[in-house]
Amino acid sequence: MMLEKGLEERTFYLNLGPQHPSTHGVLRIVLEMDGEFIVTADPVIGYGHRAHEKMAELRTYQQYLPNMGRVDYLHALAYNQCYCMAVEKLAGITVPERAEFIRVITSELNRISSHLLWFGAYLLDLGAFTPFLYCFDDREQILDLLDRLTGSRLTYCFYRFGGVPVDIDDDFIAGCRAFSQRLRSRWDDYDNLVTKNVIFIHRTRDVGILPPEMALQYGVTGPTLRGSGIPYDIRKSEPFSVYPLFDFEIPIGERGDVMDRYLVRLQEMEQSLRIIEQALDKLPNGPIMAEKVPKRLKPPEGEVYTAVETARGEFGIYLVSKGDVKPYRVKLRVPCFSNLSVLPELIKDTMVADAVAILGSIDLVIPEIDR
């Protein structure tokens, strides 16, 4: 009797983060809990704010290049590419075709490395330690390849306005081909280890279903959107660089659950391998740097928007120039910010364990959200 009288309909608050291993950075989610179930979720962001947009206004165009590798450190080369494309469009610089090919090859390698890291880290969230070791072994091969070319392993600063500073050599091409063979031979292992695993299937199938309408309302892009069955990929819908020359597909999911988002990313790696192989086959000869790119770049007055498809979705740069050596304004449209905004809807009425599975499936990079 006493016990029943003391019972009240009460919810309590639980902080997921900011130092939680499954939030992959300093993201804090305030969960209102009713027992084991989540009533509301409120993401708190901004712990990693570094004022990247403001920094652009204080630096010259060249000096802002290294910042791009640090907005999203996992797919840094796509961000490099987007910024270079924006400035090139503004200044009217034409990039030689060989340089565009090199950009596509390196950027796609970087996409695979980003997806591999997501694969490993996500399964760590779900409690599987072993797959992490396998995919990091594969990822290491990419890092070695890119290290030989760009000189760095994570926060790349490789592309320059008008092209790339270093040409690729035969060793790099042979290394790329060997790598794509190696990764293809590993798909079976990944399937046996993870995709067919009964525990993994039960943790992901029909969990965190994102209906396509909701995804569109929230501006979700990238594999998270494609998992819901909408074939939207900037590389196809607004082609940039030399992507129209290549034959590749956009993998999409059916149900929009965690499993579909997982499968989409795995298939995307295969598509990236196809792009790399085609680019290596078609690689033209010629210069890698546009002629007459001034050292002190002063683009004419104007504004420009460019977008690329990163491993997490659409990344766009809106650049305003007043004809000075420094940009007047740089606005970064980052995919993870929109993708995070859909999270409270997804993890409503689920359990904490599922919330972690859903959070990981969106593939958030927190420094990118805070930027």
């Binding site: 072993t130 760009t150 000189g151 500073p165 046996n192 993870v194 067919k196």
Partner: protein, 176 residues
């Protein structure tokens, strides 16, 4: 009931298939490097901190203290001072100090250098106990290299009377 039994069996088989993968890799050679005992060579293009390129013709550096690198550096980590070579209009670097703790390794300084005096070092073990350990005296490294090769150390040109010599001397003292 039938479906339940089937699911249980396929589920159990999937676990065995996963174990099969791990067992297969268990008997393959290891892929990790046992770091403190084994070391890997960095790739030739690895971007460590910058250092002076030893010019094989002169046996010294090529820096003429134009300060292009210091100006182009996004983080302002480079301090270079030079003195005028008597009799010419050229300058010659006397000190070149790098605050590596702020460096973002973009490589713009190497690209902008008009005399190609800089290159990336292959140094990757840079752990230190204080921030002071991250301040790299590039000129001192060059001198150590010259000593190791038995090359004569360069005597900085005698400062002219009104030139920025006192400044250079002062900063030289501060770093030593």
């Amino acid at each position: 009931m039938k479906a339940y039994v089937k699911e249980t069996l396929t589920g159990f088989y999937s676990l065995l298939a996963g174990l099969g993968v791990t067992i297969r890799y268990f008997v393959k050679p290891i892929v990790t490097v046992q770091y403190p005992r084994e070391k890997i060579d960095m790739s030739p293009r690895y971007r460590g901190h910058t250092e002076f390129l030893l010019d094989p013709e002169t046996g010294s550096h090529r820096c003429n203290a134009c300060e292009n690198c210091a100006r182009t550096c996004p983080s302002g980590v480079i301090t270079v001072t030079g003195v005028k070579v008597p009799g010419t209009k050229k300058k010659r670097a006397v000190t070149y100090v790098l605050d590596y703790s702020l460096c973002s390794l973009c490589g713009l300084c190497v690209e902008v250098c008009p005399t190609n005096a800089l290159k990336f070092s292959n140094e990757y073990r840079l752990a230190g106990y204080s921030r002071q350990d991250m301040i790299i005296d590039v000129m001192a490294r060059l001198k150590a290299q010259q000593r190791a090769l038995g090359l004569p150390e360069e005597v900085p040109p005698a400062p002219e009377a009104e030139a920025p010599a006192p400044e250079a001397a002062k900063s030289g003292e501060a770093e030593s």
